[in-house]
Symmetry: C2
Subunit: 209 residues, 2 copies
Amino acid sequence: MVEKQRRKPGETREKLMSAALTLVGKGRHFASLGIREVTRQAGVVPTSFYRHFRNMDDLGLQLVDELGLVLRRMMREARNNVLQADKLMEESVGIFISHVQANRSFFFFMAQGLAGESRAVQEGIRSEMRFFASELANDLRRLRLAEHLSDGDLDMTCDLVVRSVAFSLTDLLGVAPDDDYQIDQIRRRTTRFLQLIFVGAAHWKSEGT
Amino acid sequence: MVEKQRRKPGETREKLMSAALTLVGKGRHFASLGIREVTRQAGVVPTSFYRHFRNMDDLGLQLVDELGLVLRRMMREARNNVLQADKLMEESVGIFISHVQANRSFFFFMAQGLAGESRAVQEGIRSEMRFFASELANDLRRLRLAEHLSDGDLDMTCDLVVRSVAFSLTDLLGVAPDDDYQIDQIRRRTTRFLQLIFVGAAHWKSEGT
DNA sequence: TACCGTTGTGTACAGTTGTTCACTTATGTG
DNA sequence: CACATAAGTGAACAACTGTACACAACGGTA
């Protein structure tokens, strides 16, 4: 007699994905995870894996999609909550950090994927970052905060902003999630990076002429 | 009769390390490499591994040390060849890119290690980057290129510079090594990033007062 | 020359891996 | 209700893994 568990449709799929994330969150690298390991963590029999994914790379790709959702939520919150332009950067960095804390495993996965072994995952994450940068550029245009910059220069600036924040991710994931002191240091530093970049953008090319 | 190969002392050790690097250079992630796999690539029997390393993490740590040498060579070359201050950034980025091309596997390893699973390797690479940033700050002070900045602000600026260049690493490693067009795009973009940062540094705090 | 520590070799073994197969059970549509 | 399909299960396999052991050849030193 086979005891088949009753589950909602797609529940095992979710279990597998979050099992992989859990392992990544525990410090394991996604590239080193095996199918059996993930199914074990998910409390599911190994063969179930193949019902939902072709292999680990496939699972990784689907995680990238979910990561996209997380990033979009973050962006939406930033858009809604950053009202006054003068505190724009402090608040944005704050929102970023709190989202990282709330979805630590996801961001572990993101940081790993940037130099990961699956080209597809890598390209997926990179494209999420490009999207993020272009949305940021739109916002700045809309808020009339960068009217002296050409489109190309604004894109470059936003690209650099996104990269700097993304790099802070590795700092953030390197400290304990409850180490408030260190986290505050990172928050300050990241904010100053962004301020420096925008000071640069404000004077960009205005001196070469 | 056991045919023992004659090798220079430490030759097998080197073979193992460069075998790991080779695999990483082929797109594999360091965290997913196994002892047997590395020894196979090195053309050595699995048990030999333990004569030189306690486990793969240990090998990784020793690779970080060698990476340090590569980075120092790069820094030295930059110091010798960058003579005129106005081309400082173009030339530095150029030297960086050519070193990456010449030691591709090493830089693959570096990019992976930043979000790798061994905390020790991670910390090692991070510390190499800190060292690099502080040396850069020294140089700028020495060349009297940043006299209006406080020590703290100069450190921050150099930190941001190093991070931006390091992030370009992932771009660089993502394109084929002979894709000259793309590489030139990356070179241009990275250079502009640095210029933007230094424009920011030049006007830093001069406006808040 | 005799000796010893280092390094390389071959064999062995238990544990884990990815994947296939034949099966049972649940679910939703006609 | 019947039935096709999706989603779960367990057993099995060959291949591979890390690691241990005993042994052999080398290099240097006394």
